[in-house]
Each structure stands twice: as C-alpha cells, then as structure tokens.
C-alpha cells in the first residue's frame, strides 16, 4: 500500500514536470507557482526574444556539473560593452533551497523590461547603465532541489567533498575574510561548509571573474531567503565597516521602500556572523555597496524556504522599489560635486595608471575657503558648491562636510573624520553654494604635517552615494588644504596608511617636473635576505610587486627630496603632485585606492618652501 502511494506520488510529480516543461512559452511570467530550472531558462530566452534590443542572455561560467550560470543583461545598447556605463548586479539563489529569490530576480528583469517604454525613470536607468541579473547562481543545487530523487531543502552546491559528503556553501566561499570559524564551517558535512579554499568552487570563481570583468560596478544585491531582513556588510564581524553611514543610509531607505509596498518592515541585522560571503567581498575589496535582502517569510523552519506560491508576487513587488532606487542612484547624476576643474561628473572621475591618477580628484574646485589661506585656529568660511543636473529645483539635499587627516587613502565618511557641519538645502537648477564656519585645526595632523582634507557628501533620497570613494561617485568631493606655516626644508614628508584591512603594496608616483628640477622618492626597502620571508613579503614575491609593502593599519613616512636646478633663483616655483595608491595583495582584480596631494614648491636661497595648492 505504501509503495503504491509512492508510485502515485511520483507519477503526479512526473506528470507535473511533463506538462509544465512543454507548455507554451509565454510572457508575462506566471508567478502563480515556482519555476523549475528549465522553466527559468525558457523564461530568460522568452525575455530575450521579446526584448531583443534591450536584453541578452549569456553565461558567466559553468557550475561544477557543467550547467551554465546564466545572466541576463539589460541595457539600451545591449550588444555593446559600454565602458562608460556603470554596472548594477543582482545575484539570486546562492543557496539552492531559497527558491523565492529566483522568482524575485525574474520579476525584476521582466518589470524593468516592461516598464522601459512607459516609466521614464526605468528608461533612464536602462539607457545609462548595464544591469546584470543572475537568477540562479547555484544551478546544480537548484536542480537538486527540483529533482524527484533530490532534496527540496538542499542549501549548498553539489561538490563531492573528499570525505564523501556533498556540497560547499557558496555564500561562505568568497575571498574576503574567508576561513573564519566564527562565521563558517571547516567541516564538509555542515551546511555552512566554506570549501577547501577561498573561491574553490567554479560558481563563485565565475561570479568573481564576471565582476572583475565589468567596467564599473556600482552596486550589488544578492537575494536570499528568509527572515525579511535587509543586510549590509560586515557579515564576518559585528564591528562597523569603514563608511558605515553610507551603507546604513542606503539600507534604511531600502527598508522604507520595501515597507511602503505591502507594509512589511524588514529588519537590519541577523544576529550572527557569516564570513566569506558576497557583500563583504564587494565592500571589502571593491568598496562597492552591496546588500543581502533576506526575503519572505519572517520566520519559520524548513517551511520558510517553501512559502506558498502566493507569496511570490508580494515579495517581488515589495523588493522592486528598493532595487530600482539603487539602480537609479547608480545611473543618475542629479546633485554632484566636481572633483577637478573640467570634471563632468563622470564616474569614475579618475583611474589609476602607471603614471599615477589620471586626474587629480583631490582638488575639487567646488570646495573652497574664505580666506583662501588657512591659519591654524582661525575660523574661516567653508564653501561647498552643489551642482544640479535635473533642470529643476531639488529639495531635501543633505550636505555633510567633514575634515580628516589626509592619509593617502581617503573615504568620506570615515570613522576618523570630524563632522564640520551638516545642512539640508533646496538646490536650484543652477546649483547652490552652501557655506558653513570651519575652525581650522591647530597643530599638525597625526603624521606631523600641516595639511588636512575636507570632504563633502551629498545625499538625496533619489540620489545617494554608493561608495565612499570620491573618484567613484560624484556625490562625494574632496579637497586637500595646507595650513600655515609652510613646510620648510628640502624634504616633503608623505605618509600613507593602509586602511584596507588586507595587505597592500603602496605605489607612489610624482609628476614630472620642469627641466632642471629633480625629485627623489625613496626606493622601497630591498627584500630582507634570509630564508623566512613574512607572509606579506611572500605575497609580494608571488605578484612581483615592486612597491613598499604595508600591512593593515601600518603607516609609512616617505621623505621626498626636492632638488632645485643649480641656476634656480629666489622665488622660482614648481608645482609638484604626489600620487599614491594602495594595491591590495590579493588574487584576481587588484583595485587601486588612494589619492594624492599637489604642492607648490618655492625656492628660497636658504631652503625650499612647500605649500598646498589647488
């Protein structure tokens, strides 16, 4: 009797698979049930066929068992790889049993495509961006949860581990802070098994390489279920990440956007750590804002992974505005600050090259003081000019202005930055200059120099910064200032701190000077002789890194010697720009972060004078 029941059940499942896989290909997507892997592929193909000029389906790699990891690209010029457009990325189904994440991703794709013709905001986003949606990041696991001989609540991929068990948790296999027992398991049998090494799995490797191959990733959402949460980095620790306010504001806005649809208010924290997960990699190694929405339902056991199909649409609907808002941030330039004279607001405004930064983005002409010359302890007027590209007045623009020690790598906001002032203004179409008092710091900064960096951060509910790096977002502008008296002597002391939390190589480049003037930058120390190099030295050798090596939080002081020409006369001056970048000692993409400082060096028969200048 029992066997007969089993046969009947299997027959029912088989009949269901038979009929559903051969039904007509039709859009709109029917969200009255969860979709099988083959149905997902059919939907992607149908979307491509229905919108051939707006979307294209490709594979970003293959799973362990050889299934393609499909990605649907949505853009106005979809066949063109446009380096000038930002990239927004959506992942779903890292974990095989979290089916509702697939549906949410499919809904997002279809709705964006459908609304292109009718919703100006969507059209603008698709015209200005390349949007990439990966509905099934773990195709083998997904297939296993749909397989009648498989298991509906399988979480990992289908790796055959050396101990005879199956699976690696793909969301514990990313490279940033991989391997911590506090947030992942070293034991293959466990559901949070992190793999034998970071990026040991073809699925995570494919996603990492896909991201590295994009020109300008602006933001990423990776959908999971369940619990109704909107999580942000860090996952590996309960400590705040650098730039926490930026992530926090985006999360708060997203939660409000979700709640506005069906009244479900997602939480912000999960209460335990997860190391080697996706968003930590994005923020930790790329400073790209990334979030993990944990979808419906709020609570439950295994049933939480298989909510009724009636939950699909409300879940997808409520998450759509939050996704759209991030897409809009990535593609819009409503209010902005110039990074240098001639900056058009393009993101990034500068890139690192062998000659240093392509533009001196630390010289924002939109940040200035009155008087221009700063005296220690004096209260000056700090002006921040906000441009407005919308063509109309923009109310509710929040302007936060900070100053900080200008370490070679800067972020705004950052934990050590001092808030000078904050104000919320209406910016007319022609732009607006915001003024506030600033009492110039007395004494030297933490590395004994008399210069400081002022940073301004613009936020509006429809135009938020997605990173803390000035060259990556037009919502952040920075300007380095030097206070009087001037630096005296023939050496400029340049200091750099590695704030990246990972080992890095410091690259320093000084702009070429007029004939006769020489600048001598100290060479990095030669590798120590001996058979036992340190870890950072080994990494540098592996990468053939030539620069100075900095462990996390380590600071280095570089005396840069300036030699004037023999025929120099009193008052002769040159402009000297020092570019600095930290290149992380990591596999894959080595994303340069840093900035620089521009000095005017004046020759005096007794000494050289150097002062900060624009």
């Amino acid at each position: 009797m029992r066997d007969r029941t089993l046969i009947l059940r299997l027959a029912a499942v088989a009949a269901c698979v038979w009929t559903s896989d051969t039904t007509a290909r039709a859009l709109p997507i029917d969200f009255s049930s969860f979709h099988t892997p083959s149905q997902v592929n059919t939907i992607l193909a149908d979307l491509e066929a229905a919108h051939p000029t707006l979307c294209k389906v490709t594979s970003l790699g293959s799973s362990l068992e050889g299934r393609p990891i499909n990605v649907i690209k949505i853009s106005d010029d979809v066949t063109v790889d446009d380096a000038g457009e930002g990239d927004v990325v959506f992942f779903a189904l890292h974990h095989a049993r979290e089916w509702i994440s697939v549906e949410t991703a499919l809904y997002l794709a279809e709705r964006l495509l459908n609304e292109y013709a009718t919703v100006p905001q969507v059209k603008a986003a698709i015209d200005n961006l390349e949007i990439w949606i990966v509905p099934v990041a773990n195709p083998d696991g997904y297939a296993w949860t749909h397989n009648t001989s498989g298991y509906r609540y399988w979480r990992k991929n289908r790796r055959m581990n050396s101990d005879g068990t199956r699976g690696v948790d793909l969301n514990r296999n990313w490279g940033y802070q991989w391997g911590l027992d506090s947030g992942s398991s070293p034991t293959p049998v466990n559901d949070e098994f992190r793999g034998t090494a970071a990026f040991s799995e073809p699925e995570t490797t494919a996603m990492r390489d896909f991201l590295a191959g994009l020109h300008n990733v602006k933001t990423l959402l990776t959908y999971h279920s369940f619990s109704e949460l909107f999580l942000r980095p860090w996952g590996y620790t309960t400590a705040d990440p650098p730039g926490e306010p930026t992530l926090s504001r985006l999360a708060t806005r997203s939660i409000a956007a979700i709640a506005a649809v069906h009244g479900h208010t997602y939480g912000e924290t999960i209460g335990y750590t997860a190391s080697g997960e996706t968003t930590d990699y994005l923020w930790g190694e790329m400073r790209v804002s990334a979030f993990t929405p944990e979808l419906r339902p709020t609570t439950g056991g295994l049933s939480g992974f298989s909510p009724p199909a009636s939950a699909i649409l409300p879940t997808a609907e409520e998450n759509y505005p939050a996704a759209l808002a991030l897409i809009h941030d990535a593609g819009s330039r409503e209010v902005w600050i110039r990074d240098y004279v001639g900056d058009t607001g393009a993101e990034p405004s500068a890139v690192w090259t062998v000659s240093g930064w392509s533009h001196a983005f630390w010289t924002s002409p939109d940040i200035s003081t009155v008087p221009a010359t700063l005296e220690q302890g004096a209260t000056v007027t700090l002006n921040v000019h906000v441009s407005n590209s919308t063509g109309a007045s923009k109310a509710g623009v929040k302007v936060d202005v900070y100053y900080t020690d200008p370490r070679i790598s800067l972020e705004f906001p950052n934990p050590s930055a001092v808030l000078i002032g904050t104000t919320t203004v209406t910016v007319p179409a022609g732009g607006l200059t915001v003024s506030m008092p600033w009492t110039v710091p007395v004494g030297a900064n933490s590395w004994g120099e008399l210069h400081w960096c002022v940073g301004a951060v613009l936020q509006h509910t429809t135009d938020m910064p997605l990173t803390t790096r000035a060259e990556r977002t037009s919502n952040v502008g920075i300007r380095n200032f030097q206070t009087e008296p001037l630096l005296v002597g023939t050496n400029l002391i340049v200091a750099a701190t590695n704030f990246l939390e990972i080992d890095a190589e410091l690259a320093v480049v000084v702009d070429r000077l007029p004939p006769g003037w020489e600048v001598k930058v100290p060479e990095p120390p030669k590798p120590r002789p001996g058979p036992r190099p340190t870890s950072i030295e080994r990494k540098a050798r592996l990468l053939r890194a030539q620069g100075r090596l900095l462990a996390p939080d380590e600071t280095v002081y570089l005396p840069i010697r300036i030699v004037p020409p023999p025929n120099a006369r009193p008052g002769d001056a040159v402009d000297l720009t020092v570019h600095g970048a930290l290149l992380p000692l990591v596999p894959g993409q080595r994303d340069a972060v840093g900035n620089g400082f521009t000095y005017r060096v004046v020759f005096d028969p007794e000494r050289l004078l150097a002062q900060g200048r624009d």
Partner: protein, 243 residues
C-alpha cells in the same frame, strides 16, 4: 483489427507512469545496494603525495593557486595542503616556503556509516567523531587512518546514501542575543531567529529554528542551551525580532 489511439493526456499519463516506475526501480536498487553495505573507500582520492606549507590567510593561498597553479587540497587554518611536482616545490622554496610531505591518511577524512556494535564510548576510542546516532548505525567522521583502524577492529563500515547524513530539525532557546552567535559558531544551520511576541531586545530570550547533527546537539546541551527536536516544519508562533 481495430486500431487503438491515445490522446495526448493518455500519452502524458503513460509517460509519467513510466517515469515513476523507473524512479521507483532506481530507488529500490539504491536501497538494495545500501542494504548490502557497499564498499567504503579507505584510500586517499589521489595517489600523488600531499604536501603542506604554512600560509597567513586565504589571500596567500589564492595567490599561490593563481600564480603557481598550485593544486590545493585544503586550507585548514594556517596549513595549506596541496599536490605539487618537484619543480613546483623548488619554486615554493625559492619563495621562502618550506614544503613538508603530509600523511594522506591523516589529511583526508571521510564520513561513513558504522553498523552499531557495542558502546559508543568504544567507538570513540578510535578517534572518530560521531555525527549522528541512528537506530542501526552511527554516522561518523574520521581520518582515513582512524577509519582503517576501526575496520581492522571489526566494525562494519557502510558508504553514505544519497541523502546521508541529514541533520535534525531543532528549536534552540537562548537567553540572550549574544548567544545566537555562539550557536552559529557551533555551525548549526540557522533558519530563523524569533523572539516571543511582545518581548523586547535583551528580554525574554529567543528561539532559533534550524538543523543540527547529534554531535552539535550534544555540544549545545553541554553548554546549557535548551534544545528541542522538532517535526519537519518548525512551528511559527513567534513574531520576528531583531536579535
């Protein structure tokens, strides 16, 4: 003679029936093989020698893989196990590493079923970790060396089935928010964390719904957590809170 015709619906049913029959036969075969015991491989998965070096972190391991095409076996803390040719080992030495040959029977571990015989304490004496206790067998995890010792001692080892091992569904009651992290550190698969309705943060405690193996449940109980085995679907009488 009258020809018989079949409608699409009938054809579909026939096809479904055939599929069902095939699936059923397949399942029966698997069960039979499982019942016979099958063979548990107690040899390393590869005949090549395994080497180890000390590394600082995942980035260093990744660089070795990327730059030297090192074939990684496993990273365990600061220890990196790998396969390497003599040339590659020479290159590693040039870079300052000190490759040491590892015992593959200690490096590789397996999870197997062990037919119950005698007391669990005796089994543990062979250095194995009991993951689950089933009616007729234990699920254990151990190094190949320890499993071979177990087999020599007469224990009957069986291979895992397609769905082995399966963790138990559990409800874990914790008193404080911080204790959720402790449960996480024991690698319990946490599905959700709930707070009894009306409770405030830091108030009446939390209920974790998840899955855990018997060894994890043992550890939780040793540490004073209240663990309740539950049915296939956890009850949901709680409002979600923010732990």
């Amino acid at each position: 003679m009258q020809r018989t015709t079949t409608t699409p619906a009938v054809r579909s049913s026939l096809f479904a029936g055939l599929l069902a029959l095939a699936a059923c036969l397949g399942a029966c075969c698997c069960w039979k093989e499982h019942g016979k015991g099958g063979i548990v491989p107690l040899e390393p998965p590869d005949s090549r020698a395994v080497w180890s070096i000390e590394v600082a972190d995942a980035a260093e391991a990744g660089l070795l893989e990327q730059e030297l095409q090192l074939q990684l076996v496993r990273q365990e803390g600061t220890k990196l196990y790998f396969y390497a040719t003599e040339n590659l080992r020479g290159r590693l030495q040039e870079l300052g590493y000190e490759p040491a040959e590892a015992n593959p029977f200690e490096v590789f571990r397996r999870v197997v079923l062990v037919e119950r015989r005698g007391a669990e304490e005796s089994l543990r004496g062979y250095g194995v970790q009991v993951i689950n206790r089933e009616e007729r067998h234990w699920v254990v995890e151990a190094s190949l060396a320890n499993l071979r010792a177990l087999a020599r001692a007469g224990y009957r080892l069986l291979p895992l089935g397609a769905h082995d091992p399966r963790p138990r569904l559990v409800l874990i009651r914790v008193g404080k928010d911080e204790e959720v992290q402790r449960v996480n550190e024991l690698h319990v698969d946490i599905f959700s964390v709930s707070r009894p309705g009306g409770a405030t943060v830091g108030g009446q405690g939390l209920v974790i719904c998840g899955a855990a193996f018997d060894n994890q449940i043992d550890r939780l109980r040793q540490e004073g957590f209240e663990v309740e085995l539950t049915s296939d679907v956890c009850p949901t009488p709680y409002e979600r809170g923010k732990p």
